[in-house]
């Protein structure tokens, strides 16, 4: 049978990284993950109980698999990976799958991409520079599981002579190497730009409004903005800066405590010491908030970049304590992600229409919009496309770059929003990738399905659903599709009908909005 071979190559790849160190002894790591997951589940369940809401059900294996593949690996699973997972009967197969994906090299690649999009949002030349120079560095950090406080230190502590700021864009020197300093280059290179961007990213506070005037909604004054910018000052005097209006400001930690810069220490080191101290709850809270948004589709509180505007009771639900636990665990990112993915909370259903948990925003999991790279990688998987250079594969021949660029024009960093436009829809309808994939003469997946003599129409439709949506059609869907096939009179039209179904599934909301 053709179908189980669909993902053979990828299975071999992932097996290669699987054999090492995944012995079955109960490890202290697993216990620590278990503990955090249980704590989180208790938080959610008691809140639902207090609000007299029934928690959403735990998802079935297929939904779990697609969800965790997209979140960690950045792509949907292949048909054969799905079959293997569904047929496994170990009670801990979900936990094992989380571990397996976390040791797959595609996971740090995906997380590096996700973090790059969070750190340097938007679609301009800054984002392009970050893709080239920051993202590979982030992938290395996720591969090595760099502690998150160390990551912040590497990104923000700049010895001015050791790492001169690199210009971006047209004047960039030939092939600069990926490095932590790509961050400050991408966000603007001036002390005020770096300060504004990093305060938002690492502390969840948007100060930029206070650059020119006291903040209209929040408590921030110009002193707060320039006090933080002073840490990044390269105007000669460490820890002092002149604002655009020419006023001089000393370095002051956000919140008002003046900083002392000891002899021989960089101002940015002093800032990072303060920032990553467990006493600074915003650092841990913002980190876990971003992880939670990535996994759950929305932040742990209503605002991610404006924690100062969040009502304290929202933070008390679970954000602050999760942040503190993260700090106490030495900012171990892999532990955090593994624990959250293994929790019941992560594995609950996206509430459907009229589910009462929809009334409680903080506990509700929204549909999650796939990011541009996830769309390409998932299409590649669903279509079973070659991935090698010698095959002139879409991954290597420029198709991926083009598709990601076009999708990025309308992408958002809010997974619960869908902002795509007409050009993006037209590309997914008529672009070369989908066109080839739905051409019954050239498409690997389609041909395998349509031409298989031993598959009944029902099984053919099921296989297309498995390839595109990682699930079998429900009975009602199956009947609709069967009657559509039945309407076609000629054998060629009947074959063609499978192609139209496949096209529709790849263009369906379910393909890009992950439940």
């Amino acid at each position: 049978m053709e179908v189980p071979h669909v993902g053979l190559l990828l299975t071999i790849i992932s097996l290669g990284f699987n054999g090492i160190g995944s012995a079955d002894e109960p490890s202290p790591t697993a216990d620590r993950q278990q503990e955090l997951a249980a704590w989180l589940d208790a938080r959610f369940e008691s809140r639902w109980k207090a609000n007299q809401l029934t928690p959403p059900a735990i998802v079935d294996d297929a939904t779990f698999l697609r969800r965790v593949y997209l979140d960690l690996n950045g792509t949907i699973p292949s048909v054969s990976q799905t079959f293997d997972f569904l047929s496994g009967n170990q009670t801990d197969k979900r936990e094992k799958m989380v571990d397996q994906l976390l040791s797959d090299p595609r996971t740090p690649k995906n997380l590096g991409r996700v973090w790059r999009r969070m750190m340097v949002p938007g679609n301009g030349p800054e984002a392009a520079a970050a893709t080239q120079l920051l993202e590979p560095w982030l992938v290395e950090q996720f591969t090595a599981n760099t502690r998150y406080n160390d990551l912040a230190r590497k990104v923000l502590v700049i010895a001015p002579d050791a790492a001169p700021m690199q210009p971006i864009g047209l004047n960039a020197p030939a092939a600069p190497t990926p490095s932590a300093s790509a961050y400050i280059n991408a966000v603007g290179r001036t002390p005020d730009a770096v300060s504004g961007a990093s305060t938002r990213f690492f502390l969840g506070v948007s100060l930029n409004c206070a650059k020119c005037h006291d903040h209209p909604f929040a408590k921030w004054k110009q002193q707060d903005f320039w006090g933080m910018a002073a840490f990044f000052s390269n105007q000669g005097t460490a820890g002092r800066i002149n604002s655009e209006k020419g006023e001089s400001y000393p370095a002051v930690f956000l919140g008002g405590e003046p900083a002392t810069i000891p002899e021989g220490k960089l101002a940015t080191e002093v800032l990072v010491d303060w920032m990553t101290s467990p006493k600074n709850t915003n650092f841990g809270a913002t980190a876990v908030n971003r992880v939670w948004q990535h996994l759950y589709g929305r932040g742990a509180v209503s605002e991610i970049d404006d924690l100062d505007r969040v009502p304290p009771e929202e933070r008390l639900f679970f954000l602050d304590e999760l942040g503190q636990r993260f700090a106490a665990a030495d900012y171990d990112m892999r532990w955090l992600i593994a624990s959250l993915c293994k929790s019941r909370t992560y594995q609950r259903e996206t509430p459907g229409k009229s589910n009462p948990t929809q009334s409680d925003q903080l506990t509700q999991r929204p549909l999650k919009t796939l990011q541009p790279e996830q769309v390409f990688d998932s299409l590649e998987q669903a279509l079973n496309l070659p991935i090698g250079k010698s095959d002139d594969s879409p991954r290597t021949n420029g198709t991926r770059t083009q598709m990601v660029a076009k999708l990025s024009e309308a992408a958002t960093n809010h997974p619960d929003q869908f902002r795509s436009g007409i050009p993006q829809a037209l590309m997914l309808m008529h672009g070369s990738m989908i066109s080839n994939a739905t051409d019954i003469e050239t498409s690997r997946t389609l041909r395998a399905v349509i031409e298989a003599p031993f598959l009944e129409p029902k099984q053919k439709i099921e296989t297309l659903y498995m390839a595109a949506l990682t699930r079998k059609p429900r009975e009602q869907e199956l009947n609709t599709m069967l009657s559509f096939i039945g309407e076609q009179r000629e054998p060629l039209q009947r074959k063609q009908a499978y192609s139209e179904i496949f096209w529709a599934l790849l263009n369906s909301p379910e393909f890009v909005l992950s439940p």
């Binding site: 795509s420 007409i422 050009p423 829809a425 037209l426 008529h430 559509f484 529709a504 369906s508 890009v512």
Partner: protein
């Protein structure tokens, strides 16, 4: 492919008009007389065509000449159809259209950087980090666009040239108000493929039955998903695909089929990217698109030529004028003959003007202090030159107009309230034009 929906649409409208006409006792002959025009002007919807001149055109060599002054340069001034209004000798076609056009000779700003200046002129606001202001096209698309339009509400032609460093786009209004861009990278006069929507056409092998089947199955799948899940993203996905589907099925109402036009018409617009872009703009407006922008850069001799004429200004401006004049004047005439001009505003502007004094390279440099833009058509009191830059062109001596006031005036001509507020993601209200800015009344029809 014959376009049914377009004709269905009109039959319905015309039937409605006929019934109304009957009810009010109007004569049928009168109504039939209207038919030809109605067939072309699908509706009396207001529309705006922005002719965007990236780089900043020289006012002194186009619409505000200084004959006899040393700043004037070699170009002569000619009379126009509007008494007392005189323009460059290289714009003879436009001179004949001047009764429907108003020149503003007193634009003034302080921004001499291409990108930042373009942002001010296109958004009406000085750019800042905290708020991404939307451009004029997005604002107009939101106010005048219809959700059920088969075509997008904002089309940008040759938009890769539009920016000149500008970072402005749909801003906080979001991608639903982003332009549909038509690349037009080639200046090949015969080609129409280069003024086309990417991926609009299905693959060659896919026939009409298949397309209908695809959308039928997609509709079933969408319906099923919407029954299981709701939320903004589900609705946004569906709305977007419906728009794309309408565009595919109507093939954009043939708007892009410029070869449907008479050869003489295509020739009159000019067989170049800008000329054909103006013709496309007319076809889009005719089909209900409320905002179209066409950027002009490139001449027959030099595809990279722009209005940023720091050197060799006079040769460059002459060549650019030879592209501009036939295209724009034909557009005005064509719109009028089709009964569209009274509903369609044509705006000509760049991000700033150029220095009246001539530099050592025979060029003119960036000059935001006193420069010109032109408005024509819908709602505009034509036949006038408004404001003055004095005898040497060095500063505004009468009736200064700032970028935001120009946007407010454009709104006024289009029947849009410039005080209307849009909301950012954070819920901050932002009026279309900053508070305290009024349209220039003298430029608007009473």
């Amino acid at each position: 492919m014959f376009n049914h929906s377009f004709y269905d649409e009109f039959q319905r409208r015309d039937f409605l008009r006929m019934s109304l006409a009957g009810a009010f006792g109007a004569s049928f002959s009168g109504w039939f007389g209207q038919l030809a025009k109605a067939a072309q002007a699908e509706q009396a919807q207001k529309a705006c065509i922005l002719l965007w001149m990236p780089g900043g055109p020289s006012q002194t060599d186009t619409f505000d000449l200084k004959p006899g002054h040393k700043n004037g340069g070699p170009f002569k001034e000619i009379d126009t159809a509007a008494a007392g209004v005189r323009i460059s000798e290289h714009l003879p076609g436009l001179a004949m259209q001047m009764k429907d056009m108003a020149i503003i000779r007193s634009l003034t700003s302080t921004e001499g950087d291409h990108g930042r200046a373009a942002n001010i002129m296109l958004t009406g606001y000085k750019e800042q980090e905290a708020v991404k202001y939307p451009v004029l096209g997005s604002l107009v698309a939101k106010e005048l666009g219809r959700a059920d339009n088969e075509l997008p509400n904002y089309v940008s032609i040759s938009s890769s040239q539009l920016g000149f460093g500008s970072t402005a786009g749909e801003g906080f209004l979001g991608p639903q108000y982003a332009p549909l861009s038509v690349s037009g990278n080639s200046n090949n006069p015969q080609a129409r493929a280069n003024l086309a929507i990417e991926f609009l056409a299905p693959p060659r092998k896919v026939d009409k039955t298949q397309i209908d089947n695809r959308f039928k199955v997609l509709g079933l799948v969408q319906q099923d998903f919407a029954e299981r899940f709701d939320g903004d993203s589900v609705a946004a996905h569906r709305a977007n695909y419906e728009k794309a589907e309408r565009l595919v099925k109507s093939q954009a109402k043939h708007a892009f089929r410029l070869d449907e036009e008479d050869t003489a018409v295509r020739d009159a617009y000019g067989r170049n990217r800008f000329g054909q872009g103006c013709l496309l703009a007319r076809r889009l407006v005719e089909r209900g698109v409320p905002f179209v922008e066409v950027a002009l850069s490139g001449t027959q001799a030099n595809a990279a030529a722009s209005w940023d004429t720091h050197a060799d200004n006079f040769n460059q401006v002459k060549l650019l004028s030879q592209v501009l004049d036939p295209a724009w004047s034909t557009l005005m005439r064509d719109l009028r003959e089709r009964g569209l001009l009274e509903h369609t505003l044509v705006v000509w502007m760049g991000e700033f003007g150029r220095t009246p004094n001539i530099n050592t390279m025979g060029g003119r440099d960036h000059f935001p202090i006193a420069w010109s833009t032109v408005l024509g058509g819908a709602g505009i009191q034509g036949g006038q030159a408004y404001g003055s830059s004095g005898p040497d062109g060095m500063k505004v001596i009468d009736k200064p107009v700032k970028g935001p006031e120009l946007i407010a005036t454009i709104c006024g001509a289009l029947g849009i309230d410039p005080k209307k507020e849009n909301f950012t993601d954070e819920g901050r209200p932002i009026p279309i034009v900053e508070r305290g800015t009024e349209p220039v009344k003298e430029l608007l029809k009473g």
